[in-house]
Symmetry: C3
Subunit: 216 residues, 3 copies
């Protein structure tokens, strides 16, 4: 049976692969990119959140950089997306599922790492959420999309809930393997329910007219 640290590493690598595949496919659709661009964007989606996490937690050099397994797994995901892009593109459901897996795993492992380094619960929740959504945000900025986490769907909130669940379990002394997996499953289920029923976070009731596009 794996120890806690091994479990965290395995979950983190699975999340990394899921995000690399998803990130590269999103990039393929958003812009005309060459193989360098597709693989790079897959890797950035996969390791971006963890890099921000480790800067905030003062845990440099970032685990995603110091441990070659992260970028081997991330590069593999990006290359698969590049070579199978068109076929994978029809597999919208598996891709959404993979992305939700990555979201759930990164939210929970990010929060758990913060607790393990002695940070408070607020920091752990915030850093878990940032770990989960950070890579995709950098990807969207690079291909000139407004980051989807800011504008659509139900994406940051499941991450916030998953990170909170992991932190609460840890504070209650139940921060073991089961609680970690449970919090990730909770995040995953909420995310998939949001996708299924097309949930959205509330929009402003009376938004000012978005008139600032004059410089486009």
């Amino acid at each position: 049976m794996p120890s806690g640290a091994t479990l965290l590493l395995v979950l983190d690598l699975v999340g990394t692969f899921a995000f690399a595949l998803n990130g590269a496919l999103t990039a393929l659709r958003a812009a005309r990119l060459d193989i360098v661009g597709v693989v790079t964007l897959g890797m950035i989606t996969a390791v971006g959140g963890g890099t921000i996490r480790d800067v905030l937690l003062d845990s440099l050099p970032p685990a995603t950089f110091a441990d070659w397994r992260y970028y081997a797994v991330a590069a593999a995901g990006g290359l698969i997306a590049f070579f199978l892009g068109r076929r994978l593109d029809r597999l919208n459901t598996p891709i959404t599922v993979l992305d939700a897996v990555g979201l759930a795993l990164f939210a929970v492992t990010g929060a758990t790492k913060a607790i393990g380094l002695g940070f408070g619960p607020e920091q752990a929740v915030i850093v878990g959420t940032i770990t989960a959504v950070g890579g995709g945000t950098i990807r969207d900025v690079l291909v000139r999309q407004i980051p989807s986490v800011l504008s659509s769907g139900f994406y940051a909130i499941p991450a916030l809930i998953g990170a909170t669940a992991a932190v609460v379990a840890s504070l209650l002394g139940a921060g073991g393997t089961l609680a970690t997996v449970g919090a990730a499953v909770l995040c995953f289920v909420i995310r998939m329910v949001g996708v299924r029923y097309d949930l959205n976070a509330p929009y402003p009731l009376a938004p000012p007219e978005p008139a600032r596009d004059d410089d486009e």
Copy 2:
């Protein structure tokens, strides 16, 4: 009477609130965002500059992350903007004033922090300016605007002057409460004069034609 450290903290928190409110309102106008997006952009505007500052000063984890008061204040600013967005939008003058307050406070506290950590005057001026304009720059990138600090108005220059004044005062042995406030007031006044008289930093005399927008 507050000590220097307390004063810096209070000024920093006031600047954080001003930037969160302003950043969330700017985001509301620039793109269609949900509550997560508006509050996130307010928080990023508020804590982004300080985060870059602390990376450059090797003062990790960032104060804006390690101290929950920063993101409590930032989240409050973002939520107020979300719920009162339309009404606040008519209050253009107070918003511009608040932003100038944040600019002035961050330029001065950023520079003062660098001096306190033993950095040289050039570093202190640069880091003060980056603290002041960094959060707004990240916000603009996320909502796909060319950062206003790069293209319009008189924004970075007041910050540069305020940071320089704080550094000079400190080098002259006058780095106390009064000098800190004085440098911030100087930056604030220059910024507001720039707004009032529509000052701009110089443009290139003969710019090459901006022909690269073909991919828009």
Copy 3:
């Protein structure tokens, strides 16, 4: 004869100047910017890659920030571009050459710094490449271009090869001045051959239709 450290510093400063000049000129063409914007973008292009490098290598504060010579040289490059912008714009060949010089020098000095700090060869190759392409990527994001490294030409690959050559030489015990310069020349030549013969990294064979531009 310069020691290894002095050589690295000199090469790094030459690369910084080349990138500042090139970055400011690219910025001038991409958007309407004032003097603050042009100089800032020149400086960001010049020191951005090195800043990311030093975050990843846990070598904070970044050398580009702690050592005033970096931003003095970078600011000089930005100011020259601002004042001579139009005339320099006709000098497309020298600008491309300067950029290739910066690319080559940063790839090699970044990789060499990583090896010197005890990182493994994979980390050194990755960080050398990121040092070389990082500044230009931030610049492109700020002026709302899709980073050219992701979408066109033969840019990241020469950097990758140059960094790899520097690392291999170092592993073979030949990490001296000659090997450093040789690896930089190799990167430079490959980049210039790519420019001359209009080489591109492979594109996806059957890309999915880029249908996500609806929000443009």
